[in-house]
């Protein structure tokens, strides 16, 4: 054994209950030049964990992922080689692999996925659920795609049916229903029927929901209660019923027929049923950018707005319960089911994790920094409680691990800060430098599903699918 292979004493710890090492094996002398892969192999060996199939592991040293060899880590942190290093091992996030791109005619503003593991697919119970992607585009059309990249169904555009202007968001209500909303201030509930050959389908508007005065920025659905939440630029959050039967009649003043404009006549030509909101809650001074259901409690919702606040809404009384004020306009939000946090993407290029609970000591639990442009879409991981993906105007999606935390310097405003684990660029850029200001490649929407992987759509008129093969094995 020559002098270069010095040994370092490490202590392995973990929070994963199924991977706990016996007490006696936790301390180990390892060569100093070993890297993540070597450590992972050591832990997977027969003498240690004795796993049936190797579990790729990542190692957190002092809150940051070990990316270099232990020796270099110690050197860069100014530690002696004689110190005992505590390594927390976690299941590895594997880099997402590019799968496919689905071409559109115009910018893709919203994507949602349907699979047996998606929220809408889970509603179907035991029935077989096809894997589908719904995309909303700026040309006013909703498209349904199968995994091989064929557009199975395209909504009718223009004349009376469907959207007359760009669509901002689309969601699966159930395997046979979708809801979409956009600049023309209405929510359209679509009936989706698929032919038996799996290669063709039809999208028929079931009903139109009218009530907002301006552009609808995002929608969220709760499949079990069949409720829809919309966030609009008029500062209001709309609560709607997705079934024609329970939806109230629309306020005639809000319908386009109330105004004798040419455009109104055009859009009124269809025969789709028109319904109104269950509740229209004026909450914000400025445009509401996101309204989301609480992941577990369907009577609670969160709304995020450009006026820097995130509010908790009680949907039964339709009142604001509490509000969280941040420093920047918020452009998107999603709830993290496990951590009871709300991840809010801001125009100041970061994601803030907000704790909306009354008991929380600090409102901002963590800040995720790394994007270089506005963060317009976030999605929580479907499999665990500590990772999420965000889509930004800087043409990237970034995957974050909330366990990798460090304390922020005073320049960054203090608190905890995390950096992205993976950055997913647009495939057609072929790893070139980021275009300035995300020019031509902005990501506008991102969704994360266990089956599909990370699905993102953007200014490049493409839906891009990235799958981590066993990205997060169970």
């Amino acid at each position: 054994m020559d002098a270069s292979s010095a040994q370092v004493k490490v202590v392995f710890t973990t929070n994963e209950e199924d991977l706990v090492l016996p007490e006696s094996k936790r301390q180990l002398l390892v060569p100093a030049d070993i890297k993540r892969y070597g450590l992972s192999r050591i832990l997977n060996s027969e003498s240690m964990l004795d796993t049936s199939s190797p579990v790729p592991l990542d190692f957190l040293a002092n809150g940051t992922f070990l990316k270099t060899s232990i020796e270099e880590y110690l050197k860069s942190n100014g530690l002696s080689q004689e110190t005992t290093l505590t390594l927390q091992y976690v299941r590895s996030l594997l880099p997402p692999v590019y799968e496919a791109s689905f071409e559109h005619d115009d910018w893709v503003s919203g994507v949602d996925v349907l699979s047996s593991t998606s929220p809408a697919g889970l509603l179907a119970g035991d029935a077989a659920v096809n894997e589908r992607v719904a995309s909303a585009s700026y040309d006013g059309l909703v498209r349904i795609w199968n995994p091989s990249g064929t557009a199975i169904a395209v909504s009718a555009g223009g004349k009376g049916e469907g959207h007359t202007q760009r669509i901002n968001a689309v969601r699966w209500l159930s395997p046979t229903q979708l809801a979409s909303a956009g600049l023309d201030r209405k929510v359209v509930v679509w009936d989706y029927k698929e032919a038996d050959d799996d290669f063709s389908g039809t999208l028929k508007p079931n009903m139109e929901l009218w009530g907002h005065g301006k552009n609808i920025n995002s929608i969220d659905v709760n499949g079990s209660t069949r409720r829809i939440l919309t966030a609009s630029s008029d500062g209001r959050v709309g609560l709607w019923s997705a079934s024609k039967r329970t939806a109230p009649q629309a306020d005639p003043e809000s319908l386009p027929s109330a105004h004798n404009t040419k455009r109104a006549k055009l859009s009124n030509a269809g025969s789709t049923a028109q319904r109104g909101p269950l509740a229209m809650i004026p909450l914000h001074e400025e445009a509401v950018t996101a309204a989301i259901f609480h992941p577990k409690d369907s009577t609670v919702a969160y709304s995020a707005s450009l006026d820097h606040t995130v509010k908790t809404i009680d949907l039964t009384t339709q009142r604001e319960v509490s509000r969280l004020t941040t420093m920047h306009p918020i452009l998107c939000a999603t709830a993290l089911p496990g951590a009871s946090l709300v991840a809010a993407g801001s125009s100041a290029r970061h994601i803030t994790l907000l704790d909306p609970r009354e008991s929380a000591a600090a409102t901002a639990a963590m800040t995720l920094r790394g994007h270089v442009n506005m963060v317009v879409s976030v999605a929580a991981s479907p499999e665990n409680d500590y990772s999420l993906v965000s889509g930004s105007h800087d043409s990237t999606c970034r995957v974050w691990d909330l366990r990798s935390v460090r304390l922020a310097s005073s320049e960054e405003g203090g608190g905890s800060v995390s950096e992205p684990v993976y950055t997913i660029g647009r495939e057609w850029l072929k790893g070139k430098k980021l275009p300035p200001a995300g020019d031509g490649a902005k990501v506008l929407s991102v969704a994360w599903d266990k089956t599909w992987g990370i699905v993102s759509g953007g200014e490049d008129k493409k839906v891009q699918i990235n799958r981590g093969n066993g990205l997060l094995p169970s």
């Binding site: 910018w107 700026y138 202007q165 760009r166 600049l183 201030r185 005065g213 301006k214 552009n215 630029s233 008029d234 003043e253 809000s254 386009p256 109330a258 105004h259 004798n260 404009t261 455009r263 109104a264 400025e286 445009a287 450009l306 006026d307 420093m327 920047h328 306009p329 125009s347 100041a348 290029r349 270089v372 442009n373 506005m374 317009v376 105007h393 320049e411 300035p436 200001a437 995300g438 020019d439 902005k442 506008l444 200014e459």
Partner: protein
């Protein structure tokens, strides 16, 4: 949108109308002209880059005033003269009356006797011919009459009065016309002035000139010689020469013998003995000989010590100090002055083989020169921290938020983008370009709407787009060439669009400036007056796109600005001469020219954000008019050569001005009409300046392709001045044909700014 909201807002608006006594805009036509009447010179000719000389007008005014003063003074003078003339006239008449110059009195015998009035010996009186006074007192001294006022008696037995001696008037008269021979002396015999005759004067003159006084005396008479000059032929004596003149002198022989004896004895030396040369050693001075040991003073600097000799100076240095052949060669090739060392280390086996050091004397000499001549001065370092000289400004990091990076690039225009504007709700951006289109974008860079305002082949550049500042309508005003278009883009809710259409169509009932009204607006002399703008519907294809109304003025519109209530709109067309600044009333489709004459080329105009003031910027001045009282309130002189743009702080008390001569000027309107701060940070002209409506930020756009963001905090109380801190330089726009960033606009709420570039893009910075 619920029905209650618009009505409430409308109510608010109407309340505002009642509460602030605003100008009603009913008659703006020429209302601001009377204040301009005296400014006759219009700077039309100065568009070719000549410096407009606005001061001229004022100077002329002053000159006129002065002339008036002088003239009035003359008139006063004439008045005085006239009066004095009229006073003099009666006196002259009185003198002209003829009266007998004698009186009749009784004499001693009771007979009649004529007594003549004393003749006044005035100038030109006849009496001047009479002989001078004669001595009537005989040959007695005049002093006998000293106690009397008279001197003797005349032929009539009257006293001859003593002449008025020393009387000032006489003396003055005498001094004016001096009689011949006047001396200023008094003749003691007669008591009269003593005059000298010509001969006496000449005599005196000769005496004065040191000449011979009398003519008879001749100072240069012929010389009579006493001795003759003629040489005699015969000697006076015939005696022979004496013997002693030939015989040697014994006395001399004796003296020579004496000298010879002295030389022989050595008493007299034939040459001077050489002096001993020992004294020459004293000529060398030891300048430090008398140096006293000085106490250590702060300023004392000891002479630098010579470095001790190193190994290379040894006669037997270690081999590593010895130069190689190449080094030696190099050293020898070098100029003696360029050599690093004066010597080359060399090795000798024994000390006895060391030759004499040839450079020794020279080296000592140079050392002495160093010590003696090289000045040794303690250098006083300036103990001023350079950072303390800078003004204390907060760090830019503390002044967040402000835009820092480009977030969106808006691509689509096919020519340079001239103008850009955020909609009042901050969700849309409108841009106008040289390609003749107006485009509306979402903030993420998606083009939502566009319209070609003029023909695509020969597009009129869209010089300015501005949104109507109201949230319940969605109206964009766009200036293309001489036309101004009102656009209600069909991208908002039907209720809003309907409201916008109603606002635009409301004025068609009035049709004041339309074709029917042309007859109504005639001037006093009956001539038909062309309305300043013609309001009409644009072509059907444009109406279908949402362009609902337009008007045309006489020359190309460069700037438009809305009044905050959205009913008035001012347009500025710099080449429009008389009608360069026009105020339009949207609700009546009425256009009025508030200035009959404008001093200078109007560049931009703007309404005050809260008061009924109207700011008009010409090339060098900004004038502020009160539209309600119809008067000039203030003239602001930024000191810029050519103002390009201005913006008024939403608080209303501050103003920023950008100029083509690269200056950005901040004016405090309460403080002075001169700029509070002048900033020259751009190497090229500044095209646009803009205040943020809510945050303490402002920005400028320059032809060097950059924007500068400033933090400009205005404090309410008058004691504190505004804090201005440059916080960020935003670069990204490319410079094309020397044009960089053409326009900027702030988001109404957030610290986001959008810029229009000559590189055919707009950029959003956040």
């Amino acid at each position: 949108m619920g029905p209650s909201l618009p009505s409430r807002k409308r109510k608010e608006v109407s309340e505002v109308v009642e509460s602030d006594d605003e100008f009603d805009g009913a008659e703006l036509e020429g209302i601001l002209s009377q204040s301009e009447d005296d400014d006759d010179d219009v700077e039309d000719s100065q568009s070719d880059g000549e410096e407009p000389e606005l001061d001229e007008d004022e100077d002329e005014d002053e000159d006129e005033d002065e002339e008036d003063d002088v003239r009035s003074g003359d008139e006063e003078g004439e008045g005085i003269n006239g009066e004095s003339n009229s006073k003099n006239k009666p006196d002259v008449d009185g003198e002209a009356d003829d009266e007998p110059n004698y009186r009749v009195v009784k004499d001693a015998n009771g007979g009649v006797r004529y007594e003549y009035a004393e003749i006044d010996p005035v100038y030109d009186s006849d009496d001047s011919d009479a002989q001078g006074p004669v001595n009537t007192i005989g040959n007695i001294p005049l002093s006998f009459y000293d106690s009397y006022p008279h001197i003797g008696y005349d032929i009539n037995g009257k006293k001859i009065m003593r002449p008025a001696t020393g009387e000032a008037l006489d003396a003055l008269l005498d001094s004016i016309e001096l009689p011949k021979g006047w001396t200023g002396l008094t003749d003691p015999e007669t008591g009269k002035p003593l005059n000298l005759s010509q001969e006496e004067l000449e005599l005196l003159k000769k005496l004065q000139m040191n000449e011979v006084p009398s003519d008879d005396y001749n100072p240069y008479e012929d010389m009579i010689p006493y001795f003759t000059s003629i040489e005699e032929k015969m000697p006076l004596s015939a005696a022979p020469e004496p013997k002693r003149r030939f015989v040697p002198s014994k006395h001399e022989a004796k003296r020579i013998a004496k000298l010879v004896r002295a030389i022989k004895e050595g008493k007299i030396l034939p040459y001077r003995p050489p002096e001993p040369e020992t004294e020459q050693e004293d000529k060398y001075y030891d300048i430090w000989a008398n140096e006293e040991a000085q106490e250590r003073h702060v300023m004392h600097i000891p002479a630098p010590k010579l470095a001790p000799p190193g190994y290379d100076l040894s006669y037997n240095p270690p081999p590593e100090y010895l130069p190689t052949a190449e080094e030696k060669d190099n050293w020898e090739k070098l100029d003696p002055e360029e050599r690093e060392k004066e010597y080359l280390p060399s090795k000798f086996d024994a000390l006895r083989k060391v030759p004499a050091y040839g450079e020794f004397v020279k080296e000592r000499f140079e050392r002495c020169l160093d010590l003696y001549l090289a000045p040794r001065v303690r250098k006083n370092r300036l103990n001023i921290d350079p950072s303390s000289l800078l003004p204390k400004l907060p760090r830019p990091e503390e002044l967040r938020p402000f835009p820092t990076v480009c977030q969106t690039i808006f691509k689509g225009h096919t020519s340079r983008v001239r103008t850009v504007a955020f909609s009042p709700d901050g969700e849309w951006i409108a841009s106008g370009s040289d390609d003749g289109t107006v485009r509306i974008w979402a903030l993420n860079g998606h083009q939502e709407w566009s319209a070609q305002l003029s023909s695509a082949d020969e597009p009129e550049p869209v010089n300015m787009v501005r949104w109507r500042p109201s949230k319940d309508t969605f109206i964009l005003a766009a200036a293309a060439g001489e036309d101004l278009f009102f656009i209600a883009p069909p991208i908002v809710s039907d209720a809003t669009e309907q409201a916008s259409r109603d606002v635009l169509n409301a004025g068609f009932g009035y049709a004041t400036n339309g074709s029917s009204a042309a007859a109504a607006t005639t001037t006093a002399d009956g001539a038909k007056k062309e309305p300043p703008a013609k309001w009409s519907r644009p072509s059907a294809s444009l109406v279908a796109k949402g362009v609902l109304l337009k008007f045309a003025v006489r020359s190309a519109i460069k700037t438009i600005n809305w009044h905050r209530r959205g009913d008035f709109l001012c347009t500025v067309s710099p080449t429009g001469q008389r009608s360069s600044v026009i105020i339009h009333t949207l609700s009546k489709h009425l256009s009025q020219v508030p200035f009959r004459k404008l001093p200078g080329l109007a560049q931009t105009a703007q309404f005050h954000p809260s008061r009924p003031y109207f700011f008009v910027a010409t090339q060098r001045m900004i004038r502020c008019y009160d539209l309600q009282r119809q008067e000039l309130v203030k003239v602001i002189q930024p000191g810029a050569r050519w103002i390009s743009s201005m913006d008024i702080h939403p608080g209303g008390d501050n103003l920023i001005v950008g100029s083509y001569d690269r200056r950005l000027l901040w004016h405090d309107l309460d403080l002075s009409n001169r700029p509070y701060k002048t900033m020259r940070f751009h190497p090229e002209a500044i095209r646009a300046v803009k205040f943020h409506r809510g945050l303490p930020l402002f920005a400028d756009a320059s032809d060097d392709g950059s924007l500068q963001i400033f933090h400009g905090k205005v404090v309410g109380d008058l004691m504190e001045n505004a804090t201005i801190v440059p916080v960020k330089m935003l670069r990204g726009h490319k410079v094309e044909k020397k044009l960089g960033v053409m326009d900027v606009d702030w988001h109404p709420k957030h610290p986001w700014i959008v810029s229009a570039g000559a590189d055919m893009t707009c950029r959003l910075w956040a």
